[in-house]
Symmetry: C2
Subunit: 331 residues, 2 copies
Amino acid sequence: MEKIRIAQFGLGPIGIETLKLAAEKPWAEVVGGVDIDPAKAGRTLAEITGIPSLSGARVYSKWQDLFSAAKPQVVFHTSVSKLAAACEQITPIAQDGVSVVSSCEELLYPQLRDAALAAELNQVCQRHGARVLGTGVNPGFVMDVLPVCLTGVCREVKELHIQRVVNATTRRGPLQRKIGSGLPPAEFERLFQEGKAGHAGLKDSAALIAHCLGWKLTGLFETCKAVVADCDIHTPHVVVKKGQTCGLHQRAEGLINGQVVLTMDLKMYLGAPDPHDACQIDGQPSLHLRLEGGIAGDVATVASLVNAVPRVLKAPPGLLLMTDIAVPSIS
Amino acid sequence: MEKIRIAQFGLGPIGIETLKLAAEKPWAEVVGGVDIDPAKAGRTLAEITGIPSLSGARVYSKWQDLFSAAKPQVVFHTSVSKLAAACEQITPIAQDGVSVVSSCEELLYPQLRDAALAAELNQVCQRHGARVLGTGVNPGFVMDVLPVCLTGVCREVKELHIQRVVNATTRRGPLQRKIGSGLPPAEFERLFQEGKAGHAGLKDSAALIAHCLGWKLTGLFETCKAVVADCDIHTPHVVVKKGQTCGLHQRAEGLINGQVVLTMDLKMYLGAPDPHDACQIDGQPSLHLRLEGGIAGDVATVASLVNAVPRVLKAPPGLLLMTDIAVPSIS
């Protein structure tokens, strides 16, 4: 079996973990990386990941240099959350006929944010034989793909309600900061409104669900409130005083003709009790799914990216949705 | 949008319900049926289903007559559980370039029962541009596709354990009889050994999971015990005396090198308490899924068959697995 040549675009914590998992797969060969950080460019992936067998794989500051030197077939893209920025980075890769599996939240269902840009990227992919997919655990699985999958045994879906509760104490520092830990509540909520804090991808998950269910939403709204600490909290990454933000309660609602048919409720804060994922379908049959303890974020995100590769390469070229390609499975 | 021309092979209770649901779909046009029962052949589907708009769709006693008259593009096949019988019925349909969505339990992962026969049917499909898929709720979703889907966010799966508890009191007569209701326990267990009673498809589900996870099972064993009534039970369909069979406890185990890594545990009996579906993955991350109340069998089976059609037609020709085609969703 010919191994799939893999490279990494963006060598932050998630990028490095993705590469490490890919390096364990018998079907993958890690051939290089791209990062604009001058402290990383020029080094080998063995130095950056600690995996000795990656001593021949180098980090470049530009895609074109990586492509010329290492000719990857698939690139993991884990550098940005916004669609426009992602498309700018991904388009040159797709133009070289190389496929991309991205953690960019707005790539989950890019038609929501910018349908013209999505159509353009799709054309680039089809013209050059590349596939591009946005995935992860959330968005990418637990609040979208998994509920959609459940509807496959329904003859009718009237309403769909999804909850996720994450105890952020168990998560890494960047996530604890992204949910506002330590900020005055008003400041966190202002940053959320500016798109600079909070969970990215909730509306994108809702839009993917609506697309799969054939629902024409007449409204899609999102709110986010700070969860306020009722005592001082210390984690290895942040210090939160009583009265400061210790996380968020974010919610998206989808409406059809004034009626709420889709709710996505996300609580992610330090010390959140009873972490879990849940989904209720009101339909025929009605279904009640619960994942006790929930799906741990970072491990699952990295696994989602790596596991998607074989399925992505089997799909026809284009800008793909998770629900277009084969059923998820470990690869 | 051109409607998909649908026909039905086998007009038993599940076949009729499948047709009725298909008739509600804006993308489907029901054009006819096949049944060997002389009481059905020659009649219209309007008479058989009670749906007046199907007055132009007729029932034929032979596939060739239906095909000549109605030219369906997709056939629902709901007449048999055994692979050999299914292939005999499906092969002529595929040879006419018509795709088949079947409830035949052994078609879920036909490579388990007869790899040569599966390869032959696959060749027929590819030669004539037809797709064939085996699906349903169980097998086809709750004890196989759904657990596989969960592994998509795992970097490691050490063990997988699946449970299903069905309160058979709420189910239709044929199912109550299939699980042995009213039989002496020894007679039910003998019929199970002969393949004439019990739940069909448990080993097939296990084999599909192993295939998707890349597990080479060194053993796959199935047991089935009668559940014995501890009081008299009357349902609208059966009468069970104390001491007689009121259902089953069926179990499949998959082993790798002497270690049980996969268990499928199915309890289906009259009055079974706490009906649910559950799945535990022991891995990274470990996951604990539970569907409170479980997934109701018949409604969900019919929905699975109908919902699969658009996804099947988008796949390349061949003998397909549920895990080869796109993520399930309501259609």
